[in-house]
């Protein structure tokens, strides 16, 4: 690859997005907006039981209704393969149940598909579904993941003889030494409860199978992988399948997996010879689209009296639900990858224990394992600071990996590419004016206002990823993790850029165009970016794991560099100069020192497509393809601060200020970075204060709609004070690191730490999420000695009794929870 000096004319600018004109005028094109002639609607009859034997299914009444084309059950499906789970970890025993699109014989969670109804009318299929009579014989239900691990527990999958799915660990150093060297050791049980990804667009699938060709329009973050899976299930050649993700209304990880409905619409279309559409309702989304988080983390930290951390140990009990989706058992391992946080910790031990329960699967949602890590580390840092009676920022600074150590290998063997943790924290503290805050806090406390501040200094691992590390013989994911692209200059000089990523709100049409425009000497308006359609370009891996810019963007930069190299050779040939003397400036490829002697990209492209005067042996045309596989992940980082007021009489938490300083390398488009950070923070505020997926003791989903599952609204959150530092990554030529998950990975511990800081005067030293008024109030009462607070939402507790506490939560009172 030749090195091309980009002019940096467009990169770095806060351009308005190319995507927006259609979306602000209602002309976006989402899957549910699409209609095909003769299209049927599909409705899924879902289990109302958490665990039961299917005694019988009687669809006679449904089949008799007008406009009904068929009712089908698992018995009817003739598929060559079950739904995929893509992790085969070398050397790890992993129980993997077969997972078919419709339940066979038994249902194992509420919302599992039992039958499908196909009909010509959207409302008519719902009417018919009510006439499908399913008789169940209830079986014992497993809800609490810790109880599920105990000897004698009822089993979700009796064939495995245990509810434990697997154990996976990652260690470095010597834990015995860690505890021996420590003057102080603290332990906490930290609950990171179950949440929903909840993009505002639910999942939708529209399949059209005709004459051996299958087209599936799908709300997907990775259409190429979906195509591969469909090929296996239908024993078709991949080239006979096209999967298209048009405008996708948010993903947050939940649109990565290959779901039952993707297969069912395709199967029904093939069976009935009609296009078939399924549109998820929000209620279905809550019960039958993957959930996130749901870890109980047993954490132990040791430190010397001066604050030097000697070791950190974490055992994560991960409630995985009844079946796996694409990455289910792998997600908790991501917590292990970043268990060192921003700190130089010589001894580390992480163990994930997966558990089957009668619930929907968990899988990747925004951050996928890394929010859990930041949460437990950053909460423990402030717990430790309190124990040592040390300033929490001083404790952090003492243990930060210093800037000069990068690239830095941490004790578990992962090499962080870049970092300046002191830099982002210093900038945060300056923006905050911490001294003024502390004075104000003291004054307010005298007036009975409980104001607190909490911090989170975060880092993460993203930009999935080097195939050699993550692939089959590495971590064990059954795929490569490169990214493909092409840059095509048309004969008239317009540019089409293809990316194998599948963006769904990130604004990559704009940022990718900025990257290419600089390199080719054109404007972003002249660059069209396409993606999300397997019919338009090479195999791509999609958008997740904050990989699109660091992997997909770099792939594009490399394709552009190859195009520039060829364009220079053409220009040099026609201008009678040497290729190395051609430079790209002001929209022209000109001879260095003679700026008036040059050609535009359109002139060069014309010459490339009408090849009358090309260098000897050069092929016509002007387009180049790249498959870029990075050498390492990238490691963004930053520092966040949250200021809260807590009403001790009602337990209500108000976020007064929220500040963030983040570092994702040099900005391609600062507007987009701020947008990602804002959204990420609110996603974490949702988990910290409001959102929680809750199953009751019978495995019934209590939070099955947006009435019961509280997404934050505009009225619930403040405006944000964001800022950046820019530490380039050495991994890619753009220097960039991912930012899509950053805010979510960072924010929850800042909020929890702030609430604890606010409530220390009333004796509260620890609290689990979500910080609902009831949970906060009960914790305050417990701290005041007014009885032990109810365990806010131990799985199996009733909703009325426990309010919106955290799933699987254990002791939260200071006396039981190990307060300082």
């Amino acid at each position: 690859m030749s090195t091309v000096e980009a002019s940096e004319k467009w990169v770095g600018q806060a351009l308005k997005r190319k995507e927006d004109p259609r979306m602000i005028t209602g002309r976006g094109r989402y899957v549910d907006d699409m209609v095909a002639a003769g299209m049927l609607h599909m409705h899924v009859v879902r289990s109302t039981e958490a665990h039961a034997k299917i005694v019988s299914i009687d669809a006679t009444g449904a089949r008799e209704l007008p406009g009904i084309f068929g009712v089908f059950t698992a018995e009817d499906l003739d598929l060559a393969a079950p739904l995929p789970m893509a992790w085969v970890p070398p050397g790890v025993e992993l129980h993997s149940p077969e997972h078919w699109p419709l339940a066979k014989d038994e249902v194992k969670y509420v919302g599992q598909g039992v039958a499908i109804v196909l009909g010509s009318d959207k409302y008519g299929v719902v009417d018919a579904a009510e006439q499908v009579l399913v008789e169940y014989e209830p079986l014992p239900v497993v809800v609490d993941p810790e109880a599920a691990l105990k000897e004698g527990s009822e089993l979700v999958h009796p064939e495995f003889g245990t509810n434990k799915t697997h154990e996976w660990s990652l260690d470095g150093g010597d834990m015995d030494a860690a505890w021996q060297e420590a003057d102080v050791v603290i332990e906490r049980r930290i609950v990171n409860h179950r949440t929903a990804g909840a993009p505002i667009e639910p999942r939708v699938a529209l399949a059209d199978y005709r004459a051996g060709q299958l087209t599936l329009h799908l709300t997907s973050q990775n259409p190429h992988l979906i195509r591969l899976f469909l090929a296996g299930e239908f024993e078709m050649s991949e080239d006979h399948i096209r999967v298209v993700a048009p405008d996708v209304g948010g993903g947050f990880g939940v649109k990565i997996s290959h779901y039952a409905e993707d297969v069912l619409v395709a199967w029904a279309s093939k069976k009935l010879g009609r296009p078939v559409k399924w549109t998820e309702t929000r209620s279905e989304h809550m019960s039958s689209t993957i959930h996130g988080r749901d870890q109980i983390d047993y954490v132990k930290v040791g430190a010397k009296r001066d604050g030097t951390i000697t070791g950190l140990e974490c055992t994560a009990i991960a409630d995985l639900g009844a079946y796996y989706t694409l990455l289910t058992p792998f997600i908790p391992c991501f917590t292990g990858f970043v268990i060192s946080g921003c700190y130089r910790i010589p001894n580390l031990s992480f163990k994930a224990i997966g558990v089957f329960t009668n619930k929907m699967a968990t899988d990747a949602t925004r951050g996928a394992g890394r929010p859990e890590a930041t949460h437990l580390i950053e909460v423990m840092i402030e717990q430790l600071a309190a124990e040592l009676d040390m300033d929490p920022l001083e404790l952090r600074r003492k243990n930060f990996i210093p800037k000069e150590d990068f690239p830095a290998e941490v004790a578990i063997g992962i090499v962080y590419d870049s970092g300046d943790y002191h830099g982002s924290l210093d900038k945060l503290v300056a923006n905050l004016d911490l001294d003024a805050f502390r004075r104000e806090q003291a004054e307010l406390r005298e007036r009975g206002v409980h104001r607190g501040i909490g911090f989170s200094t975060w880092m993460e691992i993203c930009g999935l990823a080097p195939s050699r590390v993550v692939g089959p013989s590495g971590v064990g994911l059954q795929a490569g993790f490169y990214e493909s692209s092409y840059v095509r200059v048309h004969a008239s000089g317009g540019v089409t850029v293809y990316s194998g990523t599948a963006p769904h709100g990130q604004g990559l049409d704009t940022s990718f165009a900025q990257i290419v425009a600089d390199r080719l000497g054109v404007t972003p308006d002249q660059v069209d970016v396409i993606h999300g359609d397997t019919g338009t370009g090479p195999f791509g891996l999609g958008t997740y794991g904050s990989r699109s810019l660091a992997v997909g963007g770099e792939s594009i930069a490399r394709s552009a560099a190859k195009v520039v190299e060829k364009a220079k050779r053409i220009a040099a040939h026609q201008l009678e100069a040497a290729p190395e003397d051609i430079e790209v400036a002001d929209g022209k490829f000109s001879v260095r020192g003679s700026p008036d002697k040059g050609m535009t990209l359109a002139e060069i492209a014309g010459g490339a497509y009408i090849p009358e005067n090309l260098p000897e042996g050069m092929e016509p045309g002007l387009e180049e393809t790249t498959f870029y596989d990075p050498e390492n992940f990238v490691f963004p980082f930053g520092a966040h601060a949250c200021v809260v007021d807590v009403d001790v009489d009602t337990g209500k938490v108000d976020i007064v200020r929220y500040l963030a300083v983040d570092d994702c390398g040099p900005a391609i488009n600062p507007k987009l970075i701020d947008g990602q950070i804002h959204g990420g923070i609110v996603h974490a505020i949702g988990q910290a204060l409001y959102e929680r997926i809750h199953y009751d003791e019978d495995g019934q989903l209590v939070t099955g709609t947006f009435v019961d599952y509280a997404l934050p609204s505009a009225a619930d959150v403040p405006s944000f004070e964001t800022d950046r530092t820019e530490t380039p990554s050495p991994v890619n030529s753009l220097g960039v690191k991912g930012v899509g998950e950053a805010g979510t990975i960072a924010a929850s511990p800042a909020i929890v730490n702030a609430v604890i800081d606010a409530l220390r005067p009333v004796g509260v030293t620890y609290i689990d999420m979500p910080l609902s008024p009831q949970n906060v109030w009960a914790t305050i009462q417990g701290a005041k000695g007014n009885g032990v607070p109810p365990d806010p939402g131990k799985q199996g507790g009733s909703w009325d009794e426990h309010g919106s506490g955290s799933a699987g939560s254990g002791p939260t009172s200071p006396s039981e929870g190990g307060g300082s």
């Binding site: 308005k16 005028t25 002309r27 959207k122 959204g679 923070i681 947006f706 505009a714 009225a715």
Partner: protein
């Protein structure tokens, strides 16, 4: 099949005569009978506001209105608010201030914002946030939406 009911609705200035099931929701009439797919559906409990349109000048969630209730009414959807080349100040402001990411909540958010500005041309940040509390967005964290609405308010007043 339930009896169908004739209705006449003026949508974005165009008169439409339809024959609908009494139970059909206005949002489905707009999306499926009229092909106006800019109005979205994001939940089934009237929480998310993606389906917000104006009914006789007031913002309503069109998933909570039956098509028959709109008989004789004037409806404005996102497609009728402005178009490429003649954008409504709110559409301009959402674009300028990055008030959208995936774009799915955007039509409803803009229609709710337009209703606010029609009733309160100079809303404070808090008033904007309260007015938009019935419209959920998962992408933007609301920061830039609030900024866009306040900026559009200034534009409208100018």
């Amino acid at each position: 099949m339930p009896d169908r009911v004739p209705i006449t609705v003026t949508v974005n200035g165009q008169r439409h005569v339809g024959d609908v099931e009494p139970r059909q929701l206005l949002v489905h009439f707009l999306r499926e009978s009229l092909g106006l797919t800019g109005t979205h559906v994001g939940c089934d409990t009237s929480n998310c506001g993606a389906c917000t349109v104006h009914l006789d000048g007031d913002a309503v969630k069109s998933c909570t209105v039956l098509a028959v209730q709109a008989d004789g009414a004037e409806v404005t959807t996102i497609e009728g608010l402005g178009s490429e080349g003649s954008l409504h100040p709110l559409q301009e402001a959402f674009w300028e201030h990055h008030g959208l990411q995936c774009g799915y909540c955007t039509p409803g958010m803009i229609m709710a914002g337009a209703d606010l500005l029609a009733k309160n041309p100079d809303p404070s940040e808090e008033e904007v946030r309260e007015a938009l509390a019935g419209n959920l967005c998962r992408c933007t964290g609301y920061h830039n939406i609030v900024k866009a609405v306040r900026s559009a308010a200034q534009e409208v007043r100018a």
